[in-house]
Symmetry: C2
Subunit: 255 residues, 2 copies
């Protein structure tokens, strides 16, 4: 991690697409640390999880925006963007993959559904230090100043210390300024009251997801609780899903 | 888990859709253990990961097939199906969620991209004992007899012992008969040589995913290696992605 700022390449992706305020906010942070290239979905891709496109071809379109942001827009998911960028589109390997800033929290069980987190996880799988950043406000014009500061501190941490193999940082921040920044774990939670049943104009039924996040974990070091208290959270996550806490006991039982 | 077979309800889902051989093979196994209801995607949904549908409405269409399978086909992802089934479509709560049998392995890093696994994980999140089952053969007419036996043994295990909170079983089997069944962990692996760049008839570039699975973990208790040796594998997985193995050390470092 001894490269100077001038030699670093930072790949920025997201799941809200290239027109979101959040990706521009993250590019501004990334530019303080090195050269930035954006490879991101050409449209909204929220809640796609770690979806990848295998049944259809992908295309990448270069863009230059009035706000100065340049990059490639891809007709795929966040994980597609990171795979395609590193395999085909970039002429050198990135020193960091940054995903976000997502409009909406990716704490608790939201991590599982998050396209933002999956882009960073994909970066980790491919061997690049990777960070996902989200802001708790869904609003298009959300105040992301705090999320930007949390992102900058996480990026500085990674360039100073590196990351252990297989580990991604998942950063969340409240809208606006935060009280401090804390290491957290993913809080157990789930959605309840999920679907509203309705009838269409032909009187046929359909269902639209809604849902209320139920927090099942009152720990003080839990991401969702820390955020509620006005702090930013940083959770180290991994893509090895093996349940090591029960593995030994279960593996001694007969199948 | 003391319910008799007559009182059990088993929800079956998959990601290859209701017309696949694999879901029929899993229904046959499930019928030995209780009443079965199928709620599954109306079309192929491979590699959608833990994607859920939030920007569009969902619909559910009842079907009865010539082969005797009945259920509801949903225009959504595997995780959508489990959420919608348990929230709206079923008149009682399932005793077990079974997902598969997937045409293709969901071992190693494939777990991350898998719609099959995500349906089972969603079952776990919602509080139901859940099992994902996959067969290593992509062929539509794959011999799933071994995968069926592995599924039956995993189901019997769950009805005999229950599952710890937050734990899903991820079962994989070779095509045809297997040598034995082993507890495993998710093997570290990744795809390399991922995209083939081509030109379309208008001479514009596109990219199609391909990729070769590179196994980075030679452990004898690793899913991908056990399968290569002709055994079926059962990996307990969790949706808490917190990297506990590094959490304490990292949480003592300054952010």
């Amino acid at each position: 991690m001894s490269k100077s700022k001038e030699n670093r390449l930072i790949l920025v992706c997201n799941d809200d697409g290239i027109f979101s305020k959040g990706i521009r906010a993250l590019v501004e942070v990334a530019q303080r640390f090195g050269d930035v290239v954006v490879v991101a979905p050409d449209r909204q891709q929220s809640a796609v999880g770690h979806s990848i496109t295998i049944m259809d071809p992908l295309r990448a379109q270069a863009f230059e925006m009035k706000n100065g942001m340049t990059g490639m827009a891809v007709n795929g998911t966040p994980a597609d963007c990171v795979k395609l960028a590193t395999d085909q589109l970039l002429d050198r390997k990135p020193d960091l993959v940054l995903s976000g800033i997502n409009h909406g929290s990716n704490a608790g069980i939201n991590i599982i559904y998050s396209g933002t987190v999956s882009a960073a996880t994909e970066g980790t799988i491919l061997g690049y230090p990777s960070i996902a950043v989200s802001c708790m406000d869904f609003n298009e014009e959300a105040d992301m100043s705090g999320a930007q500061e949390a992102a900058a501190r996480a990026v500085q941490f990674v360039f100073d210390n590196g990351l252990p193999k297989g580990i991604t940082l998942n950063v969340n921040a409240p809208a606006g300024p935060f009280k401090g920044i804390k290491w957290t774990r993913q809080g157990d939670s789930r959605y309840t009251d999920e679907y509203i049943p309705r009838k269409d104009p032909m009187n046929k039924p359909y269902y639209w997801i809604t849902g209320r996040l139920e927090i099942l974990d009152e720990g003080p070091d839990v991401d969702v609780n820390v955020l509620k208290d006005g702090f930013a959270s940083v959770t180290p996550i991994q893509y090895d899903l093996t349940a090591y806490r029960v593995f030994k006991a279960m593996s001694e039982m007969e199948l």
